[in-house]
Symmetry: C2
Subunit: 341 residues, 2 copies
Amino acid sequence: MRVSELGEFPLIDRIAEIAAVKRPDVIVGIGDDVAVLETQEEGWLLAKVDSQVEGVHFRRDTISPRHLGRRSLAINLSDIAAAGGRPQFALVSLALPPSIEVGWVDELYRGLREEGDRYGVAIVGGNLARSQGGIFVDVFALGRVQRPHLLLRSGAKPGDQVLVTGTLGDSAAGLSLLSNHSLSVPAEDREFLLARHFTPTPRLAEAQVIAGSGKATAMIDVSDGLSSDIGHICDCSQVGVRLWAERLPVSPAARSVARSTHQAPWHLAIDGGEDYELCFTVPAENAEELIHAIQQETGTLVTVVGQILPADEGRWLVLEDGKQVPLEAKGWDHFEQLIKE
Amino acid sequence: MRVSELGEFPLIDRIAEIAAVKRPDVIVGIGDDVAVLETQEEGWLLAKVDSQVEGVHFRRDTISPRHLGRRSLAINLSDIAAAGGRPQFALVSLALPPSIEVGWVDELYRGLREEGDRYGVAIVGGNLARSQGGIFVDVFALGRVQRPHLLLRSGAKPGDQVLVTGTLGDSAAGLSLLSNHSLSVPAEDREFLLARHFTPTPRLAEAQVIAGSGKATAMIDVSDGLSSDIGHICDCSQVGVRLWAERLPVSPAARSVARSTHQAPWHLAIDGGEDYELCFTVPAENAEELIHAIQQETGTLVTVVGQILPADEGRWLVLEDGKQVPLEAKGWDHFEQLIKE
C-alpha cells in the first residue's frame, strides 16, 4: 500500500504504534502537535517541528523568502501557544537546491529572526543540506509551559462551549486570490488576506490568557481547517460537537472573496486551514468571563462557535437555514490532496 | 551569488551573522554542532537537528529503510555524545513522495525506534509532509549535559594531544564498495565496512568517560572527515595542529579497500567522513590515563594521532616518509561536492 492510499492520519497512527514509548518523562509524545517533556524543573519543555515544502506549502514565485521565514517560525510558535506555553528556542533545518541565491537564504533568515525577535525566540542552531528537488524548511521550536497551564487536544467535556479567536477563512481566501487572478476585491482586502495567508500571527498572548485562566479544557490551533482541527479535539477528548455555521467569524475581506467565488462565507471558515487561530473549549459557565479577559488583555475577537456533545451524539454542523448536517473533516491531508497554491 | 558558489561554511557564517542572538540562556547557539540551552536546572539541554536527503546522503536502492532510520538517529546522537551529553528525546520530520510504500515508512521508524531503544532515546513527535522530489528525513534530538562535562570545538590548547576513538575511513571504504562493484575484498571485510557505513555507532559510552574525566579540552565527532573536523576545532580553539598519517587508525578491512583502489590507507582515514568516531584533545600529561580509562570501560580503541600547536605554527600533516604537508580540509561540503553515493 502506498502512503497516498493510506492518508496522513492513519500513517501517523501506524508510526505511533511503532515508535511511541510509554515513559514517565514523556508527558505527551507522538500524536499531538507538540511534545511535552519532563525535565525536572518547574515547567515542562515543549518541542515541535513543522515543515514548509516548496511546491506543497509554498511557491517561490508567490511568497518572498522574508515572509516564508516568518511563516515557517510562526506556524511552530502557534503550536507552542496552543499548548499554553511560551516559546524560547528554534532550530532550522534547510535543504536547498545548490542553484539558490544566497540573498534568498539571507532573507529567509531575516524573516526567521524578525518573527523570533517578536516573540522572544532565539534561533539556536540548525542544519543545511543539498536538495535535488525544491526547498525544504524544517523549523524545530522549543518552549516551556507551567504545568497547570498545559492544554491539549484531550480534555473537552460535553457541555463545554467551543470558542475561536480572530476570524477564520482569511488564509484560504488569500490563497484563492493567488490562484485566481481575475477575482476582483478591493485592494485593502487583498492586502489583508495575503498578509493573513503569508504571515499568520501566532496567538501567543491570547493563549497565555486562556491557559492562565485555568478554565479552558482543551485547545488546538486551526492549521488544517476548523472541521479537521475540532475533529482532533473530538477524537482525543472522546466527545462529539455541534458547530453553527452562522456563528463562524468571517472577516469582511473574506466575505468579499466568498461572494466573488460564489460560496457561502462559512464554507471558507470551516474548511480553509492555515489561519493559525486558536480553537478551545470552556465550560459554559466560564465562557463569558474568559472571552472578556482575552479581549481586555489582547483586543482580539473571541467567538462562541459551537458546543461539545457526548461522543454518541455525533459531530454536526448546523447550517444557516437550521438544517443539521454531519460535520466532515475536509482539512488538509498531505498525502491525499493536490498542491494548495 | 549562488549557494553553490559560496559553499556551506561561509553560508553558515552568514546565517549566524543574521540570526544568532546573544542571550544569557543561549550557552551555545548557531555555529556549533549542537545547541546548548539554559533551562534553570542542574544540567543543560542539548538540541540538535540533522538530515538525510535522498540522492545526497543515501540512495533508496542501496540502504534499507531500517538502516536509514538507525543511521538518521545515530548521527544526531553522535553530536550529543561529542558534547559530553546524554540523549533523551528525538523528533522526526519526514517529507515523502506520495508514491512511497507504507511498509518503507514502517521500516524507517522501526530503525529509528531500534536505535532509540539502544541509547535510551524516546521519539516524541515529528512532522510529515509531502515531497515532490525525493525523501527527506530530518531528525531533531534533545539531550542533557552536566554543566562541568560540556565539551565543545573550542577549548583545545597548544601542547594538547589529539586523540580519536575506533578506526577512521571505514565508512568511506564502504562507500567505495557501493560505487565500485568490481572491487574485490573478502566477504567479511565487505560486511564490516558496509555496516560501518550504513549504521555508524554513536560513541556515547566513550564520550561519557571522556567528558566525565574532566581532562579533555575539546571534542567533535568525525562526520565531515578528520581533516575538516580537526579544522573546526582549530578554528574555534584558535590553535594549529600537527597530525601524523602513519598513526591514523585504519582497520584491516579498510586497508584492503585502500590496496584495491591504489591509495594510501591514511588517505581514506583523513578525508573520508561519516565514521562518527570521536576526535578530542587532552593535555599530554593526562592522555595515557584517559586512554586507559576509555579502553577499560568500553573496550574501544583510542589512538593519539596528533598534537595541538599554537595558531601561528599552522596546520600540518606529517606523511609516512616524514615530509610535512599543509593539512587541507577535504571533507564534505554540501553545496560544493557531487553526490557521494
